[in-house]
């Protein structure tokens, strides 16, 4: 296990270095000089020259990258062009809201997805199975931003049961208020994941339910629930855990569309606003932070997978 951990940590370092190269490259892919991007079209030649010198833009590209990387490692992601606020604390603060949303979506997608998948697998080709799989197919085909708008229309505007936008109400606060605001966006974000988890659970359970030891458990007269949940599901969990782990990363990145629909004040909303304000330090900081968290989540998933299935450690 120590060797596996060391290999994965080394890969993480390589991947993160590559991520920094791409993120650094993104701002240099913007047409025009970064100094022109920062100061705008009305900047004078003297101001541009001064900023270029300040930012080290006169240096070779690899020197600029190393200087930027040094600042990033010290937690300095620069300042927002739009607000002059430091990028790092702003990104971390907004990320908390995205993390709450993504975590809630993961809980919803995993719990409903596993239950749906197990129910389908124990009654293959039944009406319940076919209905579940049709819903799962619709779930993966449906645009998440459209689902969010439709849910908002039904539950907020027509039935008035749940708030439509934001994370807290203007006068409210507290856990219950947060929960009320969280339900619709979390369900929206988790819908596609739920469908994927349901399909994977069904497929994995069907494979396990045909194994000899499950037949033995049934032949011994064990109750159906014990056979399914104690013997079958436990062994079906390995690919399900992998899928669920990967989903958290995708939920973190995919939250941008859901946050836009529900005006959820997360990192996705921050990024979209920064793009239209041409606030590239903020865009760069947001992308880098989410990529870092995504890479760490994937590492944790790989390590968990290695713990669950010893064969993986020795590959």
């Amino acid at each position: 296990m120590a060797g596996y951990l060391a290999r994965r940590l080394w890969m993480l370092v390589v991947v993160l270095l590559g991520v920094t190269v791409i993120v650094f490259g993104i701002i240099h892919a913007v047409p025009g000089d970064p100094a022109m991007v920062i100061l705008g079209p009305l900047a004078t030649k003297e101001d541009l020259a001064q900023l270029r010198s300040q930012l080290g833009l006169d240096d070779p590209l690899h020197i600029q990258y190393l200087q930027w990387l040094g600042r990033v490692l010290r937690g300095d992601l620069g300042r927002s062009i739009a607000t002059s606020a430091l990028v790092f604390p702003e990104v971390v603060d907004k990320f908390k809201a995205t993390f709450i949303l993504a975590s809630a979506a993961l809980v919803i997608s995993t719990s409903f997805g596993v239950i749906a998948g197990v129910t389908s697998a124990v009654r293959p080709r039944s009406l319940v199975d076919q209905a579940t799989m049709v819903l799962a197919l619709l779930g993966v085909s449906m645009p998440v931003f459209w689902l969010g708008i439709m849910l908002m229309l039904l539950f907020s505007l027509r039935l008035g049961l749940l708030p439509a936008t934001g994370m807290f109400s203007a006068t409210g606060g507290g856990f219950r208020d947060l929960l009320a605001h969280l339900i619709l966006p979390a369900f929206t974000l988790g819908a596609a994941s739920m469908a994927i988890v349901a399909r994977m659970t069904r497929s994995s359970m069907l494979e396990v339910l045909h194994q000899d030891y499950v037949r033995t458990a049934r032949a011994k007269g064990l109750p159906g629930g014990t056979v399914v949940y104690r013997h079958a599901l436990r062994n079906a969990l390995i690919p399900i855990v992998t899928i669920v782990g990967v989903q958290l990363g995708y939920l973190l990145g995919g939250a941008v569309l859901t946050e836009t629909v529900f005006t959820w004040p997360g990192i996705g909303t921050l990024m979209v606003k920064a793009i239209f304000a041409r606030d590239f330090p903020m865009v760069q900081g947001a992308v880098l932070w989410v990529a870092l968290i995504f890479a760490l989540v994937n590492l944790v998933v790989d390590l968990a997978y290695g713990l669950l299935d010893p064969r993986i450690r020795y590959e």
């Binding site: 390589v14 439709m150 569309l257």
Partner: protein
């Protein structure tokens, strides 16, 4: 008809999927000849009219533009962007995966680390960041989605090629003294292609949704050009007053993506029953 094709047409869901895809494809192809209103014609006297209003089967949007016409014209950028970005991702990813899987060694390590780095970004986030850098527009959105889609094809092809390279016919080709490039191109790639075809079919549906997502954020097709994603974005602002403005573009995206997913699932079950999802 080949055996695989016969098996495919016996699957009702695959035929339904193909039917949906063909229907939308025909609309996109023939829209200039269809008897529809001008998609960008503004009529402020007829703003937000409901469906089945005289002259407007699916109603009008906030500028009085006919929604049916905009849906039909909007199918073009959506389908073209989806197909082109999937094909571009395939065109770059498959050769990379082929080289990595067949040649192994340093080539494989280098290519796979590069793929790992691109995959370290959540898919849509990297596409958004690339569009932010290149500038909004359908061309840059298509390019960004093509780039972020390359790792899927590279990994898939590599995985398939790793097993194919150990087959006896590949050994025989080597023993005959054929060049490695010829072996990869003539013997390995054709046998590695079936899963790629399935992945491309499913990926087109995914890319259509992703393109609509970028347009929804204002990074894809720019107004006033008709596009499903941007129609949804503007429809969101009027969802309480006129829900049809947001409902119909979303339904269009759902149906075309469902079509590609049903057909792709059918293809997968036909070409490799062991890959069956259900």
């Amino acid at each position: 008809m080949t055996y695989a094709a016969k098996r495919l047409v016996r699957r009702k869901s695959a035929v339904l999927g193909l039917g949906l895809v063909a229907a939308f494809g025909l609309v996109a192809l023939l829209v200039p000849f269809l008897p529809l209103q001008e998609p960008n014609e503004i009529d402020t006297g007829n703003r937000l009219k409901p469906p089945l209003t005289s002259g407007h089967t699916l109603g009008t949007d906030e500028f009085g533009r006919d929604i049916l016409s905009r849906l039909a014209w909007g199918s073009r950028p959506s389908l073209v962007a989806g197909v082109v970005s999937a094909l571009l991702s395939m065109g770059v990813g498959v050769p990379l995966g082929l080289m990595a899987g067949y040649l192994r060694g340093p080539t494989d390590h280098l290519l796979m680390r590069a793929i790992d780095i691109v995959m370290a970004f959540p898919y849509i986030l990297l596409a958004i960041a690339l569009v932010a850098a290149f500038g909004p527009g359908i061309r840059n959105a298509t390019l960004a989605l093509s780039i972020v889609g390359v790792p899927l094809y590279a990994r898939l092809t590599r995985g398939t090629v790793l097993s194919i390279r150990e087959r006896e016919y590949v050994d025989a080709a080597r023993a005959l003294g054929l060049w490695e490039v010829r072996i990869m191109w003539r013997h390995v790639l054709p046998n590695a292609f079936p899963p790629v075809i399935v992945a491309t079919t499913l990926d087109i549906g995914f890319k259509i949704v992703a393109t609509a997502g970028l347009s929804f954020l204002g990074l894809g097709v720019q107004p006033p050009t008709a596009d499903w994603g941007s129609m949804l974005a503007s429809g969101r602002n009027f969802v309480g007053l006129a829900s049809h403005v947001a409902t119909f573009p979303g339904l269009a995206i759902l149906l075309v993506t469902l079509g590609f997913n049903l057909f792709g699932d059918g293809l997968r079950d036909t070409l490799d029953p062991t890959m069956r999802s259900w």
